[in-house]
Symmetry: C2
């Protein structure tokens, strides 16, 4: 599985913005978040753009521009973030259609499809059980 870090970075960004706003600031810049995540501001803007499309954050342009939360961290779950930044399914089918003349080739795809759907459903349920507020609290509780 060639795992990516999109969910991790997106959660990082949201926790960062949330904490920054609680410290009295209105907006956070992609530059600041990128420094914390040790990556490029464009990477952050790309991810936050997807979170904006999902209604999780808002952006302002012009001078004093930046990003702010569109709702409270308590009302955002990792499932919201996952759905915003992870398009595809967890497991893929065959890249070419298996031999439909063969009993196994014919039945394998519907069978695996059903199994995978059940697993993704469980994954979603799991992700829905963690709010970004949970994440931030856990982060703040990490011993120095």
């Amino acid at each position: 599985m060639s795992a990516n870090s999109r969910l991790t970075i997106a959660a990082h960004a949201l926790a960062w913005i949330g904490l920054y706003q609680r410290q009295g600031h209105e907006v956070a810049t992609s530059e600041q978040i990128a420094t914390s995540a040790n990556t490029n501001p464009v990477v952050i803007r790309r991810l936050l753009g997807e979170l904006r499309r999902a209604g999780l954050v808002e952006s302002r342009r012009g001078v004093g521009a930046g990003w702010s939360l569109a709702r409270e961290l308590e009302s955002m779950t990792l499932l919201d973030v996952y759905e915003a930044v992870e398009p595809g399914p967890l497991f893929a089918m065959h890249r070419t259609t298996p031999d439909q003349e063969c009993v196994v080739g014919h039945g394998i795809q519907p069978t695996m499809q059903r199994i995978y759907e059940g697993i993704e459903q469980t994954l979603r349920h799991e992700l829905a059980g963690v709010t970004l507020e949970n994440v931030l609290q856990d982060v703040l509780a990490t011993p120095r």
Copy 2:
């Protein structure tokens, strides 16, 4: 998520060998399996090689060579297959270490790590609940 088809193809191969053996044959060739899965025999041999390392199948060389199950399909679960063919974790951390001077940068990795471990544990449990015999029966029950 750049999903791959390794678990799907591996399950396909195991179901195929299992059915073929029930039809009275001793061994299946990578060529036969590849025809059913509509792929290249080397792809099958690579995957079956990993399954052999995990103790799920055996191979014979020489004339009349091929692959056979090392245990009954009833005793093999998708978790066994998953662990044999999927090395990495589901979600990745940051590719570079986040800023340890930042509260969020410092706490985010242990936090996400814990969350991801819980999710993978659930995934394993789910996969462990499906045997390859379940898969084969479901395949055979697929309407033509």
